[in-house]
Point group: C2
Chain length 262, copies 2
């Protein structure tokens, strides 16, 4: 039984097709994780090398909450914003590290983002700032895939951010990550396109979770995206076959490839 | 075992606090529903009178999808809209018939809406129009509780429509309801405030489900709100203690009371 020690939680597909939780060791091996990763668990036998397993998103949330416009210098920042701007992505939009992002819209421009994401550990309502850390299981890397507005109408609504595969995250949940001043970067085919530091966020993890919990119940495995750093190049969209990499210093690297559904 | 016959599915709290499915008989009695209401089930013994049971929302969806601006005459209708405008409400926003709507925002104006809602029966992806009815379990009455924009920013996003208790629906799922030209009405303290006919919707149930399923996987028990008919009075907001009634001809009546959290 381990509690409170550093752990990188993954989910992988067993040969029989069932999803299982695992824990990544420093040696690059994945160990079976027995019990409930949210409460009491045991680290079991090694099941394979990380690079050889079929990884899934490290959890399946019922909802993904996104915080828009949360980095200094991001498009849309206005002086004196009194609260975060919040959108939802459904659980059905989740996909895993290495998965293809399959855009269902034939001709709408789509882009990627790189975000630090919070994974919720407990049911949270009206949580005080000092109680927030106990309610967080850990952190992961996410890509908030987004499609251009239709007729200027629905950016941040469901269609532009909620399609199947539009929420890759992983490769793991780091239970001991301590967000402070680390770099958050996005690369499109090896070109750096977004860059910022976690410290440049307008609302930090504690503020976000505490404030959200005043009006929406957060549930175990819910995922909260904390915003993307600004572009360092002119606006660029994803093209067929592009590789998109979201990387957060000390946390991990998430890679996905973009395709249009044919 | 019954399949395909008319049924009004409710959920109620047992004395031990567990939620259970039931079936409402024509005599006003609720019968225990054994098995899986989505596939194979049996109608069991009577468990009580409908009016005496503690009813819950008739199901717990993982996501609620809303269609905005879907009635002729509704605010925001623009000629030539090419697709529905879609928003999400999280599963945590659901509450049941008779429950209090508890607004967590101290001083933001809030209003109610009355909507025909679809309950999904099967996992649906890329469903053809002629396959839609088989994928629908039935219909229910919903109230899309909504809060005013903050700084003009977030109407239809998460905060204005996603708070806990902002999605009452019920009292039952009618598995045999046939939406056609029935009246949809909303009353605030007995005053009629919204009124329209199901036939006045811009997109009907078949169009909505088929189109949604091209980009978002619909899952069993997901709920889709199909829009509110327009107001018949000037804009009016909910005040402390107000009763809000959503009524759909031949389907049912949903009543909730509005309170601000103290």
């Amino acid at each position: 039984m381990r509690r409170g020690s550093t752990m990188r939680i993954v989910r992988y597909l067993e040969e029989n097709g069932s999803p299982r939780f695992g824990s990544v060791g420093e040696n690059g091996l994945v160990y079976a994780l027995q019990g409930d990763p949210l409460t009491v668990y045991q680290i079991g036998s090694p099941v394979g090398e990380l690079v050889q397993l079929h990884l899934l998103a490290p959890c399946q949330p019922t909802k993904v909450i996104g915080i828009a416009i949360n980095y200094q210098g991001a498009t849309g920042v206005v002086e004196g914003m009194q609260e975060p701007l919040v959108f939802l992505k459904p659980g059905t939009s989740v996909c895993g590290p290495g998965d293809s992002i399959i855009c269902p819209f034939p001709d709408i421009p789509v882009w990627g983002e790189a975000e630090l994401a919070i994974v919720v550990k407990k049911t949270l309502r009206n949580v005080l700032p000092e109680q927030v850390r106990d309610g967080i299981l850990g952190f992961t890397v996410a890509n908030d895939v987004s499609a251009q507005n239709i007729a200027g109408r629905d950016h941040h609504l469901a269609r532009s951010k909620g399609a199947d595969t539009f929420c890759p995250f992983g490769p793991w949940i780091d239970t001991d990550y301590n967000p402070s001043d680390q770099l958050v970067e996005a690369f499109q085919n090896s070109d750096l396109i977004r860059r910022g530091r976690i410290s440049e966020r307008i609302w930090d993890d504690t503020q976000i979770v505490s404030w959200l919990s005043t009006w929406v119940t957060l549930e175990p495995w819910d995922v909260i995206l904390t915003g993307t750093p600004p572009r360092v190049v002119p606006r660029c969209y994803l093209n067929e076959g592009d590789q998109f990499v979201a990387r957060i210093e000390g946390l991990g690297t998430l890679t996905n490839t973009f395709h249009r559904r044919v």
